[in-house]
Each structure stands twice: as structure tokens, then as C-alpha cells.
């Protein structure tokens, strides 16, 4: 199987001796056209990979900031088909594009149909925060057929047995949740993050599967701290907050671009 753009990108950042910067934004936030511009600003500022969120009515793993962003996107009428449009625009920037989605919208769209459409739009894979490998048989088949990466999550509470099971099921990277909690900014990176990455590293020693860390990272200093031991640093709420706070789109784009620049400098320290 040929490498996905995600795999290529993470191999390049690893070769460059640094962690990748991965930014998250819900498609359609604040509306579909504007979300494309925000993603472009994220990439201009230095994001290597963009997670395009599929906004969902019941985001059980998200804190208030991303809930608000997803609500705005849904209120603007964003649909799954719009997500593919944003993915297409993201891929056109040269950054690797992955989708982050709760499971029900994918199942409802049709698992095979979703995989095909995403691959055609230039997407590299999907992060599935409420799908565990034991429930993923249909997704494994569809994503394999479409040549997409499957990114599952591991958490500080995962047993060693589950770390092995989950990393075995992943391709592209494994998403390590830095702490026990939902998305959102935190004053400091939880000390559970480094321990988890070390535990995962032992199970991925043979495969070399990249480990990217998310949840609670929102400053250049935090990005630098995590970049010292992880292959990628994932930032979501920090980008959403800047768009929420901005009085207009131009202000939002400037804030997002400069935030991405700060983080990009962080992962290069």
C-alpha cells in the first residue's frame, strides 16, 4: 500500500528531528467558506496536519469551547458533504488532512461511502474518539479498501493489553490523550502525558508508529514541552477560541495565523 499523505508528513517531520504540529477545526465553523480560510491560515502559520472536525450534536468528549464551535457549525447548516469540501480545500494547501468524527455520522452516511468520499477528497484518514478497535470491524474493512489511516485513541487509563491492541489497530499515528478529561485548554500539560507516551513507545518499538499527543495543549511552551517526547502535538480548543473571540473573520485569521506560528516555533525548539 502506498503511504498516505499523513504518513509521509509525519515521516518528514521525524526526519527533520521535530514533532509535527497538528491543528483541529470543525468544518463549517464559523461557516463553511470561512472555515476553509481559517484552515488556510492554520497551514500558513505552520500546521503540518489539519484535523477537520465533523460537527456533531452530542460531542461527549468535548469541553465547552469545541462544543460551542461545533454548535456554530451546525447552526450554519454544515453537513457531512461540507466536511469533504473542507477536506478537499485542506489537502490543496499541501498539509495532510484527516477527519475527526464521532462514530454515528459516519455510520449514518454509510461507512464504505464515507471512506470513498473522504479518499476522493484527498483526506488521509479518520480519528474516531468514540470507536474502539473491538467495534471497528466494518471501519477496518472500509478504511483499508479506501487506503485511509485509522487513528484510535489511547488514554492514561488504558491497560498495557489495550495499548497493544489499540496501537496494532492504528495506522498514521496513535492519538494519546494527555489526561483524563475532555478537550479544552489547561494551565499546564498533565504529567500523565509523558508517562503514557513512554508506555505507548514500548508497544510501538517495532512498528515505529508515530505517537501524537492531544488534549489541553494551547501555548508554545506547552507545545515545546510535549514535542520533546512525542511525534506530534495536537491543538484544537486554542484555535477555536481565537475564532470565537474575534469580532470578524479578518481578525480571526490574523489571530489563528499568529497562534499557529507560535506553536510551530514551539515544536521546533
Amino acid at each position: 500500500m502506498t503511504a498516505t499523505t499523513l504518513q509521509t508528513t509525519l515521516a518528514e517531520t521525524r526526519a527533520a528531528g521535530r514533532a509535527a504540529l497538528i491543528g483541529y477545526l470543525p468544518a463549517g465553523f464559523p461557516d463553511v467558506e470561512s472555515s476553509v480560510k481559517v484552515v488556510e491560515a492554520m497551514v500558513e502559520g505552520g500546521c503540518d496536519v489539519v484535523e477537520v472536525g465533523l460537527p456533531y450534536s452530542d460531542p461527549m468528549m468535548d469541553g465547552p469551547t469545541i462544543q460551542r464551535a461545533a454548535d456554530r457549525a451546525l447552526a450554519a447548516g454544515t453537513t457531512t458533504d461540507d466536511v469533504f469540501r473542507v477536506v478537499e480545500a485542506t489537502a490543496a494547501t499541501g498539509a495532510a488532512a484527516v477527519v475527526m468524527s464521532y462514530w454515528n455520522p459516519i455510520e449514518r452516511y454509510g461507512v464504505g461511502r464515507f471512506a470513498d468520499r473522504l479518499a476522493k477528497a484527498g483526506g488521509a484518514g479518520v480519528i474516531t474518539p468514540d470507536l474502539i478497535p473491538e467495534e471497528s470491524q466494518e471501519w477496518v474493512e472500509a478504511s483499508t479498501a479506501a487506503g485511509l489511516d485509522r487513528i484510535f485513541l489511547v488514554a492514561p487509563s488504558s491497560t498495557d493489553r489495550r495499548l497493544a491492541l489499540t496501537t496494532d489497530a492504528c495506522s498514521g499515528f496513535v492519538y494519546a490523550a494527555s489526561l483524563m478529561g475532555v478537550t479544552g485548554t489547561r494551565a499546564q500539560v498533565a504529567d500523565t502525558a509523558e508517562t503514557l507516551v513512554r508506555r505507548v513507545r514500548e508497544t510501538t518499538a517495532d512498528s515505529g508508529l508515530p505517537i501524537c499527543v492531544g488534549l489541553g495543549i494551547s501555548t508554545a511552551a506547552q507545545a515545546a514541552e510535549v514535542a520533546a517526547y512525542a511525534d506530534g502535538v495536537i491543538v484544537g480548543a486554542g484555535f477555536c477560541q481565537r475564532v470565537l473571540d474575534a469580532p470578524d473573520l479578518e481578525t480571526a485569521l490574523t489571530a489563528v495565523r499568529s497562534f499557529a506560528q507560535e506553536l510551530a516555533a514551539g515544536v521546533r525548539r
Partner: protein
């Protein structure tokens, strides 16, 4: 049924339904609950403690009432009421709560969180936590705190913290989202005392097992009273805990028809009937029937009853519907309120509006089955909490312009 394998399977699947669609961060805790329950259910000391509480604290066994007057409004069929409304805290919810609160202590956890819609599960949980010295936080949609203000006060009186949930539709589903968010952050010392037969495995099974006593008692009581099994068993269905409670012991009795009555709201466009108006999907940790749009976004549910105002249903009900072992039909707000009024006037029993859906269903069943039929109804809760809603609906308050408009 004797020729079908028992459900759920080892992974919590009920046919194509159920399972575990939950964040990895919660899997260890779900495994812990599952393992602890398997140990507890086989531990005579745990069973003895739970049985004693059910007898001396809850007031079990609950009575079976021969509703002779109400039966005249049910095509003459004999309607028997399983009186879960007479339990301490006023509904069936206490059965599950006491069992899970004891389980919480076995797991060495000190804090309990729970969701509530009508407030019945929240009140029961706050009660058990007061009894057992556990910290208690109840998540309740802001819309429901308004509809059920009395139950909010009851929970606070019992020492619980009630957190109004102000996001999404501000009802039960959003309270569950918020409870899961709390759980993932505090899972080391917190148990999520789930209140219905929904959610990720093992909750649908755990809650069913703890409510099994309802149907088991009723089965003996109906036979003692009538010398035979009932022709039909009726219950209301939101998440579906009181329905599984009374169905479970009868599932092997193929001659006993099982009927779940969903909240039909104001009709197909404004409903909470997830089996009859919804489609299969994944919601709150399980594959089941839910109300969703073409993109899998959850649709807002509507019911006059806060306890049934939920856009999905427990996965075992989805399975029972698929296999045809149980039948599910919608009851409108108006039909439920008419049955509510009838039971008050004919039997001197004020039912919960939730349970009134089962009563309305029993009236339809009685017309179909005729005067020789025996119909067992789970009267799952009492209506004290609903007096405001019902008084407004029927215009019983002096100078109540809203009520007069009806």
C-alpha cells in the same frame, strides 16, 4: 425464548445492537464495573445486603393492585397494576440505585454522579447517597429543572448538588453528555450511576439485572391472583428501564405478549418514540434506535413527560423489537393525559405521566384482547412530581390562563 441465545453476549451485544461506543479513557472503568458486578451478584453478602435494603428500606415486594374500576375503561380486560409507585422515592428507579450504590462502595469509590430527566432517578440516587455517605452530583437539563422544580428541591434537601445543563436541548440527553464528561475527568474516585438500560456495556445489563425483581415478583403475584400468566405485559418506554424491569422475567414465557409504549408526543413530527419513529444508529455508547436526521445528527425529542423525553432507547429494546419478541407503539401526550385522568378518578391513584403512557397502552390492548384478557401494567412511578404539569394541562389551578386555554 428458548431457542435464542441469551443476551447480551460477552461484549455487550444484543444481536446487532448494544456494544461499547465509548471513549478509550472510560473502557477501564466500564471493565471495572462489569467485573465488580459479576463478583457482587455471586456474593451472598452483597445479595443479602441488597435484599435487606429492598425489603426494609424500599418496601419490596411492591403490591399488585387489581384495578377493577379502571378495567371498565379498557374494553373490560382485567388490568393489574404493579405498584412500583409505592416504592420509597416514588418509582422503580430505587431498585437499580441501591444496587449500584452498594457496588460503588465495593469499588472503593466515594463520589457518585448521575443524570436525570424527570428527577426520579436523581432523587433515588441522592437518597441512596445520603444513606450510604457518598458525595452526589446530579446533572439535569435546565429545561427539566424548570419542569420538575419540586424534584430539584428534593435532591438538594437530600444533600446532592444539582447541576443544570445549559447546552444543547437542555434535556435528558444533554445531562447524560455532561455526566460522561464529568466521569472521564473524575473516574478514579467517581462512579457514574447510570439510570436506564442504555449507555455502553455493561450498563444495559447491570440496570436490567438490578430491576429483574420487578417482573419476577409480578409474575408470582399474577399467578397467585389469577391462577395463570397474563396475556400481555405493558410498560412505558423512554430509555426503557421500567419496561425491561417488568419484561425480563416474562421473556421466556412465549405466550405472554410484551408491549412497550413510547412517548409519541404530539405526533410523528414532534415525538420521543425512537423505535417507532427512529432508525438504527449509535448514541450514548450503544447501537440502538434513535431519532436522527439524514446525517446522523440527533433530532430533538418531545414528550409531555420529562422522563420519556429521550431521543434513543436501550439496546435490548431495539433487539426485542427486531426479533419481534416485544412490540412497541407510540402513545400521544393527549392519550397519556386522558389515561392519567382516568386512573386518578377511577382508582384514586395519581400515576407519573410516564406511567400514564403504559396505562393508555393498556386501554388499547384491552380493546383488542377483549374481556377475558389479563393485562399486567408496570405503574412505574407516582405522579406527585407531575401535579403542576397536570394541573396546568387540565386547567385545575385558579386563575391559570394557560390551563384555561386547553
Amino acid at each position: 425464548m428458548s431457542n435464542t441465545p441469551p443476551v447480551p453476549d460477552a461484549h455487550g451485544h444484543y444481536g446487532r445492537f448494544g456494544g461499547r461506543f465509548a471513549p478509550e479513557a472510560l473502557i477501564a472503568a466500564l471493565d471495572e464495573v462489569e467485573a465488580e458486578w459479576e463478583k457482587a451478584r455471586q456474593d451472598p453478602a452483597y445479595q443479602a445486603e441488597l435484599d435487606d435494603l429492598l425489603r426494609t428500606y424500599t418496601g419490596r415486594p411492591s403490591a399488585l393492585t387489581d384495578a377493577r374500576n379502571f378495567s371498565e375503561h379498557c374494553g373490560g380486560a382485567r388490568v393489574l397494576l404493579k405498584r412500583e409507585d409505592l416504592n420509597h422515592t416514588g418509582s422503580h428507579k430505587i431498585n437499580n440505585v441501591l444496587g449500584q450504590a452498594l457496588l460503588t462502595k465495593r469499588m472503593g469509590k466515594t463520589r457518585v454522579i448521575a443524570e436525570t430527566g424527570a428527577g426520579q432517578h436523581g432523587v433515588a440516587t441522592a437518597t441512596a447517597c445520603a444513606l450510604m455517605g457518598l458525595d452526589c452530583v446530579i446533572y439535569m437539563g435546565e429545561e427539566d429543572t424548570r419542569r420538575q422544580a419540586l424534584n430539584v428541591a428534593r435532591m438538594r434537601m437530600l444533600g446532592a448538588e444539582v447541576v443544570p445543563v445549559t447546552i444543547g436541548s437542555r434535556t435528558l440527553k444533554d445531562a447524560i453528555n455532561e455526566a460522561f464528561r464529568d466521569w472521564v475527568a473524575n473516574v478514579d474516585h467517581t462512579h457514574y450511576l447510570f439510570g436506564t438500560v442504555a449507555g455502553p456495556h455493561p450498563f444495559p445489563k447491570l440496570v436490567r439485572d438490578l430491576h429483574y425483581v420487578v417482573g419476577a415478583e409480578a409474575r408470582d403475584q399474577v399467578r397467585a391472583l389469577t391462577g395463570r400468566l397474563p396475556d400481555a405485559v405493558a410498560a412505558c418506554v423512554g430509555g426503557g428501564s421500567n419496561a425491561i424491569a417488568i419484561f425480563a422475567a416474562f421473556i421466556p414465557d412465549e405466550g405472554v405478549a410484551l408491549y412497550g409504549f413510547e412517548a409519541g408526543g404530539e405526533g410523528p413530527s414532534r415525538t420521543a418514540a425512537s423505535i417507532t419513529a427512529g432508525s438504527p444508529g449509535v448514541f450514548h455508547g450503544a447501537r440502538t434506535y434513535l431519532l436522527q436526521d439524514e446525517y446522523g445528527q440527533t433530532l430533538p425529542s418531545h414528550s409531555i413527560s420529562a422522563g420519556l423525553d429521550y431521543p434513543a432507547v436501550g439496546p435490548e429494546h431495539a433487539y426485542l423489537a427486531d426479533t419481534g419478541r416485544a412490540h412497541y407503539e407510540p402513545i400521544t401526550d393527549a392519550e397519556a393525559m386522558e389515561a392519567f385522568r382516568l386512573l386518578c378518578r377511577t382508582e384514586g391513584i395519581i400515576p407519573a405521566i410516564e406511567s400514564a403512557h403504559a396505562l393508555a397502552g393498556a386501554r388499547k390492548l384491552g380493546e383488542r384482547l377483549g374481556p377475558d384478557a389479563v393485562i399486567l401494567v408496570n405503574l412505574s412511578g407516582r405522579g406527585d412530581k407531575d401535579v403542576d404539569t397536570a394541573a396546568a394541562y387540565f386547567g385545575l389551578m385558579d386563575s391559570d390562563p394557560e390551563g384555561q386555554a386547553r
